[in-house]
Amino acid sequence: MSALLEVVGLRKRYKDIVAVDGLGFAVHEGETYGLLGPNGAGKTTAISMIVGVLDADAGEIRVAGRAPDLATRAMVGYVPQQLALYPDLTARQNLRFFSGMYGMRRAQARTRIAEVLELIGLSDRADHAVATYSGGMSRRLNIGVGLLHRPRLLVMDEPTAGVDPQSRTSILDSVQRLTGEGLAVLYTTHYMEEAERLCDRVGIVDHGRMLTEGTPSELGDPDLESTFLRLTGRALRD
């Protein structure tokens, strides 16, 4: 299985704080890779560099064997931790706008938007302003925007943060369905049961470094949460 995403020696510093310190891992085609770590571990900074929002100070990122450029960005779907949506626009208008950013033609976009709305369960509310949506609906739309252009790699930064169990189940089902179709997923979460259910492999990071890596069953002795706490400590991070 070839690596769709390779990260080697990634480094980012903010003045005195080293946010990411030589991080390295790989995500293969059709694989779901979980990046786990406490708050402030450097997960979001690493993801921001992988999707091209932030520039790395050092290290290498390769997508499908290529250094990042506009073409590799088109292969990556990004689901940020924040609800990156225009609240005054409807779901359909949000999707239409972002389809333009990915160079989709009007007719192609119309068909794909309908498919995505169906996938995220928002077809019946597609023409309502996002400001009127519940937290779960907004989260689903946030994911829908990331899926719109049929990426080969989906980067999801805590996509289930703050949603109810029904929406979380729906989101997890969607991710499982997508990986079944060959999509590679890089997934960060605080919920160990999500990682155990979804991820083929996980990496536990703290202070910007990779502490350990393996399948959930390899690391889950007696369970993933115990391993996580043993490696990252029990001290509060916020």
């Binding site: 921001s48 999707v51 091209g52 929002v53 932030l54 506009l70 073409a71 960005r73 088109a74 990556v76 990004y78 940020p80 931790q81 924040q82 609800l83 990156a84 949506l85 225009y86 609240p87 005054d88 706008f97 972002f98 333009g100 950013m101 990915y102 160079g103 925007v145």
Partner: protein
Amino acid sequence: MRAMLLILAQDLRRRSKDSTLLVFAIVLPLGMAFMFDLVIGGSEGPVAARYGAVGASPFPSSPALPPVVPVASEQEARELVERGRLDAVFVTGPGSIHVIGSVDAPIAVQVAREIAESAALPLPGPPPIEIVEDATAATRELDPATHYAAGSAVFFMFFAVLFGFTGLYAERSSGTLARLLAAPVPRASVAAGKLLSGLLAALAGMAVLVGATSLLMGARWGHPAGVAALCVACVLAAMGLSAFVASFARTAEQAATWQSVMATAFGLLGGSFFPVGSWFVQLTPHHWFLRGLADLHGGASPLPSLAVLLGVAALTLPFAARLVRA
């Protein structure tokens, strides 16, 4: 290019729903221009005194001075002043000159008194001062209506530009800017789309103000091409200066505060509403915008003002790139 146009269209559509921008770009400047023109400037132009003379007029003959109406007698002079037909009448007799003045025109009467006194003290020899009429200097000055219209327009344009940056900060804090930066779109296209919408919104506001103040206040802005060039150059300078200030701020709130302080200080020190007699005035875009309009008005070239405004824009606009980051 397509992505830039989509971002631009999206931004303009969202801005058109923002009533605050409408208030700052059009309603407030128009209101301020009306108020200043009404209270300070008046729309009738310069005060024209009406003088008469019984006997010889003390005025030297000059088209720059007001005409003096010949009056037959002192009695008639008093009647004309009483009825408000004349503001003051010089009564010249053998070895004497006095002024009959209207209580309703104190400035005209004071001027008449000064003229009468100088006429009563003729100096021997040729006149020490020669009056030179400089038509260029007289016309290279904006009339009150145009000055207050232009001053208000440029003052509030800085705040309209500020709203463009506020939109950028909102995109940053909502995460949509990160999503745009992650898309296969050059960062320059994202920046250009965002900045162009600010430019167009500010220019649209200026255009409406030019039209409205011309129609409603009788403001005479000058040749449309020259006015358009000055407006574009001034908006670019305002955007550049706002970006420059914001690039040193740590938070959106800090940037907005600094930009507001800059807009207010430049507006007041740049002579938007009151003349400022200091070298500092030349450091503000407001001064160069108003000076460029005055040059246009007087038939002179606005190129020096345009060059200064575009130079400021060229030096400061690159700082906007620092703001387009997640």
